[in-house]
Amino acid sequence: MSETGRWYGDESGPMVRLYALTKGRARPVGEYLDVIALVLAGTRPEYDLTLSPEQATILELCRDRALSVAEVAARAGLPLNVARILIADLLDAGHVRVTQPNPPGRLPNDQILREVLDGLRAL
């Protein structure tokens, strides 16, 4: 926790509790995390006792497979932007990896689109 009394940005440090987040930061700072950005945990929650229960839950959810930001929020029972803030903090602390989707206007390569079409036809 910061000694300057500020609660946002880098000052908040890796350990920030949910109540502090919802009070101090309405929106995530830093990189915009898409609703389908994929989150994969690299740390098991028991390794870092400074994690909030909500952050530990997120790490558990993303342990075995990458989950989208929206899915993390839904499964953790958190509002979307609160989940975004917590994930961004986990990312800053090196606890998760996040794969962002293609930026707008840039389609994935055609091989991937063909895989999607084949996959949909096979449903």
């Binding site: 009070k23 101090g24 309405a26 929106r27 898409d34 609703v35 389908i36 950005a37 994929l38 994969l40 945990a41 690299g42 740390t43 098991r44 390794y47 870092d48 342990r63 497979r65 990458a66 989208s68 929206a70 899915e71 929020a73 839904a74 499964r75 509002p79 979307l80 932007n81 609160v82 989940a83 602390a93 090196g94 606890h95 990896r97 794969t99 989707p101 293609n102 930026p103 707008p104 206007g105 389609l107 994935p108 055609d110 991937i112 689109l113 895989e115 999607v116 079409l117 996959g119 949909l120 036809r121 449903l123």
Partner: protein
């Protein structure tokens, strides 16, 4: 570094997630369509207006009981462990445009579900995707007992750009919903090729 301590090294093939937005008027069948093709029971996440709606600095620390929450329903289709497609239903009311932006950012394409009993309900959706250049198809949800229209009539009524696909569908039916999604992906591909050719010559 936390990753160094990890028991599970995360060296894997890159993951790809894509999204298609399902829009349309209230009660047109958005969540129904998501549910018809999603492999998971549709999930719901919420956003509150006080957080995302305005750039107010909400630091008073008091829990707001008057906050309006807006639900976003979504589903997922996983093709393999690296590739998944997410389907996001838009919030029903048009005043939540900021959430539409959040969901539609970088979307592969969109479906606008039209209910011919209230065709005007999908005007805002059509307008939204046209303005942002997001490829979209119109899926006319053929409710039981609703009048059947020909796709040409719907296209004319909605004043669609030529080439905007219009399909008849049953949002409850998996095969039907699947065909709509295939049409979106094919349209996105066509538009992408057309843009690439236009830019490359």
């Amino acid at each position: 570094m936390a990753f160094v301590r990890s028991e599970r090294p995360t060296r894997r093939a890159p993951f790809t997630a894509l999204k298609i937005v399902i829009a349309g008027g209230f009660g047109a069948g958005k969540t129904t369509m998501v549910a018809a093709v999603s492999e998971i029971r549709p999930l719901r996440t919420e956003e509150s207006l006080s957080q995302a709606g305005a750039r107010i600095d909400d630091t008073n620390g008091v829990e707001r009981k008057t906050t309006t929450t807006v639900a976003i329903d979504f589903g997922r289709i996983t093709f393999d462990e690296r590739l998944s497609l997410y389907l996001f239903g838009t919030p029903g009311q048009d005043r939540f445009w900021f959430l539409w932006d959040d969901i539609s950012h970088g979307a592969l394409g969109a479906v606008v579900i039209a209910d011919t009993r209230r065709l005007e309900d999908c005007f805002p959706s059509v307008d939204y995707f046209e303005r942002r250049g997001i490829p979209f198809v119109i899926a006319v949800n053929c409710f039981d007992g609703s009048r059947r229209y020909r796709v040409e009539q719907v296209a004319a009524a909605l004043d669609l750009d030529p080439g905007t696909p219009v399909l008849l569908c049953d949002a409850r039916d998996r095969t039907s919903a699947k065909e709509v999604l295939i049409a979106v992906v094919e349209l996105a591909r066509r538009q992408h090729h057309a843009n690439a050719n236009a830019n490359g010559r």
